[in-house]
């Protein structure tokens, strides 16, 4: 038996992250840059939060640094408990991003390099949510940068 082709991926919610299957490029976070302040804000905004002036759309994909981490002790319907990582990552452009973390307790250390990834959103049984067309719903998250 041959392996199944990988499912198409779609963003859980539009406007946060570029998904290659949908956008032709990515993954990259969609952010806003204010020329007036020099700061970059995530998620995208309608105006600069400090000057109320215009912002331009930018895409962020460079690795960042782990500011903090935790994990939720999530209970599955069958009673098993799985750790679900959540972290805050500081990107080189400036913003601090709160997002799911890949890995298990013990993998994460404050200060480590983290890279952006797309991760499926799981239902209570641990299977990915699918949209009406059978595409896998994904959101942005971070994983430790693999050692060279």
């Amino acid at each position: 038996m041959g392996s199944e082709p990988p499912r198409r991926q779609v963003a859980l919610e539009a406007g946060y992250v570029l998904v290659p299957d949908q956008d032709g490029r990515g993954p990259a976070l969609l952010a806003s840059h204010s020329q007036a302040t020099g700061d970059t804000y995530f998620p995208r905004r309608s105006c600069c939060p400090v000057t109320f002036g215009p912002v331009e759309e930018v895409e962020l994909s460079a690795p960042g640094e782990l500011y903090s981490w935790t994990y939720i002790a999530q209970r599955r319907p069958d009673g098993t408990v799985v750790p679900v990582g959540v972290g805050q990552v500081d990107l080189p452009e400036g913003p601090r991003i709160q997002a799911p973390l890949a890995g298990v307790p013990g993998d994460w250390e404050i200060g480590m390099a983290m890279e952006l990834e797309l991760t499926p959103v799981l239902d209570p049984s641990g299977a990915p949510f699918l949209d009406a067309d059978g595409a896998e719903m994904v959101t942005f998250g971070f994983r430790p940068v693999a050692a060279p």
Binding site: T70, Y71, I72, Q74, R76, Q88, Q98, P100, P124
Partner: protein, 393 residues
């Protein structure tokens, strides 16, 4: 900045915080009628009502709850500000009296269906939104982990703070969590993990309940206080603020902070009241998780940054210590039904300042601060002081 003149708490009441309460109408009636009886007022003497609740249930009609107290045609306004809902309702009542346009205002908070959704320990059955994936329990878990890295705080310190609050609640008949034994650090650490490093006994208790505070202008308050031989409880500061932008600002997901917001809001409250952190007899904060109590001790100016662990270790924040925190059990043990929580803080503060707090009494309580955060976020800070009915502190 204008000082707050002429606003006094004249009555407080609560419905106990329980796992599953009766209808919101019943809970609201119990809290409201208790507050009116405490004040010595009838419902038709109330000039306006601010009703705080978190509309998780569309059938919870705030005005219907208030009507249980009587049909007087009183103007009713619903107030919502996430976890700070009760504080926001209190603030509106205070400002209504301070403005001079009413003599008596009521703030009533009702909470049902478990209160705040701080933890989602089961995956959602339908796809969550991007925001919904990141809940307060994770946000505070990350604060706790970062503090362990920066300051060296231990899980034992977190557990000690939680145990302190559980043990304070043993003296509070309205609290959600009333242990029948002395709660220890070991017991807290052994409870189920929610979001590392916080266990279930370290997490704000959900529940149903209600709380009510009635405020009045000076002439009304003085008459009522003299009738009952009580000191006056004056509101000397009310501050509410939302976020300002700063380095490391988090915009997405649960944001119940940043800590800087407490620093600036509290500073404004101290200035308005003309007092400093060293003048406080007791403090209430948004202690949904123990790391918050440490951070707010520092951002309220009770000690320098990184020094709060020492205060906890020396017992300073326990009843009997020099600056007790969460004397009624706080969010962890008194509970956090959301709508009532900010008003439950004022309930305890009022009893403390009157000398009516019984086994929870802080000796010689004269000045108190009540702080709450609301996700989104906002920070609410109120300062209250005891004044003799003759006008002397």
């Amino acid at each position: 900045m204008t000082t707050l003149d002429d606003v006094y708490v004249v009555g407080v009441g609560m419905h106990p915080i329980v796992a599953r309460g009766p209808s919101v109408k019943v809970m609201g009636y119990v809290a409201g009628s208790e507050a009116l009886a405490d004040a010595g007022l009838r419902f038709d003497q109330v000039d306006c009502v601010y009703h705080g609740y978190r509309p998780v249930d569309p059938s919870v009609q705030g005005t219907a709850v208030v009507k249980e107290l009587g049909l007087t045609g009183v103007p009713v306004t619903q107030v919502e500000n996430a976890s700070a809902t009760g504080s926001a309702a209190f603030r509106e009542a205070v400002l209504a009296v301070a403005s001079g346009r009413v003599a008596v205002a009521m703030a009533l908070g009702v909470g049902q269906q478990g209160g705040a959704n701080l933890v989602a320990t089961e995956a959602a059955a339908t796809p969550p939104s991007v925001e919904e994936q990141l809940l307060p329990a994770a946000y505070f878990g990350m604060w706790a982990v970062r503090r362990m890295h920066d300051v060296g705080t231990t899980v034992e310190t977190y557990a000690a703070i939680a145990a302190k609050n559980w043990n304070h609640a043993r003296h509070n008949p309205y609290a959600r969590r009333r242990a029948d034994h002395t709660v220890t650090v070991e017991e807290v650490l052994a409870s189920r993990l929610i979001a590392h490093p916080h266990t279930s006994m370290m997490s704000a208790a959900t529940g149903d309940g209600a709380a009510c505070v009635v405020v009045a202008r000076r002439d009304v308050a003085r008459r009522l206080a003299v009738d009952r031989g009580r000191p006056l409880v004056r509101v000397t500061a009310s501050q509410l603020a939302s976020e300002s932008y700063g380095p490391g600002h988090v915009f997405l997901g649960a944001v119940v902070g940043p800590p800087q917001l407490t620093r600036t809001t509290a500073a404004a409250a101290f200035e308005q009241a003309g007092v400093g952190p060293g003048d406080l007899s007791l403090v209430h904060v948004h202690d949904a998780f123990p790391v918050e109590e440490l951070l707010y001790m520092e951002t309220l100016g009770l000690c320098g940054d990184g020094e709060a662990d020492g205060l906890v270790a020396e017992g300073a924040t326990t009843l009997g210590g020099r600056i007790p925190f969460s004397t009624d059990g706080g969010l962890i043990a008194r509970g956090h039904p959301v709508g009532p929580t900010g008003l439950a803080q004022i309930w305890d503060v009022t009893q403390q300042l009157r000398g009516e707090a019984g086994a929870r009494q802080v000796e010689g309580a004269r000045l108190a601060l009540a702080h709450l955060m609301g996700a989104g976020s906002v920070c609410a800070v109120h300062i209250l002081e005891r004044v003799s009915a003759q006008g002397r502190p």
